[in-house]
């Protein structure tokens, strides 16, 4: 599936293992929430087990229908989406998708989103100790739902509160996913670290919109949508650089990563792992290609571990 195979002997020279707040992953290339379904949707196209982990589509306590169409719109080097967290709900996830993921042996991080602090807590409790759940990614940054989501992620106090409640409610590694739609992402990152997060992931999408000039109305059914893809990569990279220098927990870099070169930029900025989002939509095998390319690059340039890539001032 991947384009070039590195032979095992060569590959054994480098250590791709990373530690995400206690969660040890074989390699640092993850699939981002909302762009890989629940794994099943991708399983015939790539070898999911060979990825560091998959972060499943955001789950809420109750199933959600999502936003009215149109939900997506292409922009220059980017994608606007306003899915609105359509998802099966935690019950269905536990009985259908999760068992499948566990059987396949796919490392699984569950992305959760609540309308209230209580809902976050409830979900953390329900997922705690479930076989197959390796960590939680707490989404406090979804720009496409009215309540919850980004509202929690744009304020250090409420971000910390959600983090603490989730952390106290379960014993899983907690990754908090940050919103880029803030004045000072380091302030939020520090508050969340302080509140007990084991790791941070960033960035979620940047709020944007498009207008259909012929119909004289917003393109998206939801008016606003989240911008992702290569267009936002420079912004994501800057935020990862800043946050990696402000906190001491691991940072997972997300935003426009489409090639192994992009991934290397994020590791150099200080990311411990990266997630591939929109690029998987464009080409489902992107993450495999990135993994292979990373290994190649590290071998050529004599890097032995992901940590060595980080630029240290």
């Amino acid at each position: 599936m991947a384009e070039t195979k590195i032979d095992a002997a060569q590959r054994s020279k480098i250590n791709l293992k990373v530690d995400i707040g206690g969660l040890i992953l074989d390699n640092p290339i993850l699939l981002a929430s909302g762009t890989c379904g629940y794994g099943m949707e991708l399983a015939d196209l790539i070898d999911l087990k060979s990825m560091g982990a998959i972060v499943v589509k955001g789950i809420s306590l109750e199933p959600r229908q999502g936003n009215p169409p149109p939900r997506i719109h292409e922009t220059p080097c980017g994608l606007l989406n306003a899915i609105g967290l359509e998802n099966v709900g935690i019950e269905a996830f536990k009985t259908k998708q999760l068992p499948w993921l566990r059987e396949q042996g796919i490392r699984t991080i569950v992305n959760i989103l609540g309308n209230t602090i209580y809902e976050y807590e409830k979900m953390a409790q329900e997922l705690d100790g479930l076989a197959g759940v390796d960590a939680l990614e707490v989404n406090i940054s979804c720009p496409n739902v009215k309540e919850g989501g980004v509202a929690f992620g744009t304020n250090p106090q409420s971000a910390a509160q959600v983090t603490k409640v989730v952390k106290d409610a379960c014993s899983l590694p907690i990754i908090v996913k940050l919103s880029p739609n803030v004045t000072d992402i380091c302030e939020i990152a520090c508050a969340v670290e302080e509140a007990g997060a084991d790791a941070l992931s960033l960035i979620n999408t940047i709020l944007g919109m498009a207008i259909d000039i012929h119909r004289k109305k917003p393109v998206l059914g939801n008016v606003f949508g989240g911008l992702s893809g290569p267009a936002i990569r420079p912004v994501a990279l800057r935020m990862v650089w800043q946050v990696a220098r402000a906190v001491s927990i691991p940072v997972i870099g997300i935003g426009g990563i489409s090639t192994w070169k992009d991934a290397v930029e994020f590791f150099m900025a200080g990311a411990t792992a990266v997630q591939i989002g929109t690029a998987t939509l464009v080409d489902p095998s992107t993450s495999e290609k990135i993994l292979t390319g990373m290994v190649d690059f590290m071998l050529r340039n004599n890097y032995h571990s992901i940590g060595e890539l980080k630029i240290r001032e």
């Binding site: 196209l45 999502g66 997506i72 292409e74 994608l79 899915i83």
Partner: protein
């Protein structure tokens, strides 16, 4: 779910402008051709696009699939940058291809299929027509004018009955495909109506009219729908359309739907 999809770089064998801005592309894609069923589509991206703008692949119906030769055909109109890039390709060049995707048309064994295509809607219907060898059935093809009636020869070779109509009367009947269909259905008795089923692809207003016609006449109807798509493969949930029970996803549950399952507003 046991999906059998393939993500590959396909070799372009032919890419011919058969009418102004309408192209027929033939590619070699063995694996996809083996698994494809009529009504399914592929996501394509031109290898001439050297960058991220446009970013996404584009959905095109499988116009023809040959298990023997391993070849696929696409019939497409140049409307924007994605299809413009496809149109520039020469034989020997490559295209990124993901498929086969989505649900196909489902013709039941006892049914007499009536295929109804407007304009480019003929794209998935040729594959369907060719998958019905020796069966009784009708293909109704309509267009604005004669020169926009596409792919008549291969359609005729299927042995199905072909009815043609043009809005300006320059060829075949004068009028809309719905009028032809209406007449055809009205002439059937109730038993016969139970045996026919409509398989349709074309512009939304046409599909809506056909849906209402079939409702009135009590005839089963499948339609192939289009939406904007990001992944085409069920990953993003971007291709939702309202249906009877909540949203359906055109790339996953569709593009072919039982018309009465949808919300026609």
């Amino acid at each position: 779910m046991t999906l059998q999809r393939f993500n590959l770089k396909a070799n372009i064998l032919e890419n011919i402008e058969i009418r102004p801005d309408i192209f027929l592309m033939k590619v070699s894609a063995h694996q996809i051709s083996q698994h494809a069923i009529p009504g399914q589509f592929c996501m394509l991206r031109s290898n001439l696009i050297d960058g991220y703008d446009p970013l996404l692949r584009r959905p095109l119906s499988i116009h023809r699939a040959c298990k023997k030769t391993g070849q696929l055909e696409f019939l497409y109109r140049v409307v924007g940058r994605g299809t413009k890039a496809l149109a520039k390709h020469k034989p020997g060049e490559k295209v990124d291809l993901l498929g086969p995707l989505g649900s196909g048309f489902h013709v039941k064994d006892h049914e007499i299929p009536i295929l109804v295509g407007g304009g480019l809607g003929v794209a998935p219907l040729l594959f369907l027509a060719e998958s019905l060898p020796g069966r009784k059935g009708v293909v109704i093809i309509g267009a604005v004018t004669k020169s926009q009636l596409l792919r008549l020869e291969p359609l005729r070779e299927t042995g199905l009955e072909i009815l043609l109509t043009t809005e300006d009367g320059s060829f075949g009947n004068k009028g809309l495909v719905t009028e032809v269909l209406d007449r055809l259905l009205t002439n059937l008795d109730n038993d016969a109506k139970r045996d026919v089923a409509i398989f349709s692809c074309g512009p939304m207003p046409m599909l809506r009219a056909i849906y209402h016609l079939c409702q009135d006449q009590g005839v089963r109807c499948q339609v192939s729908l289009e939406t904007v798509m990001a992944c085409g493969s069920g990953l993003c949930l971007g291709c939702a359309l309202p249906a009877r029970d909540g949203y359906v996803h055109v790339c996953k549950e569709g593009p072919c739907f039982e018309a009465d399952q949808l919300e026609w507003e």
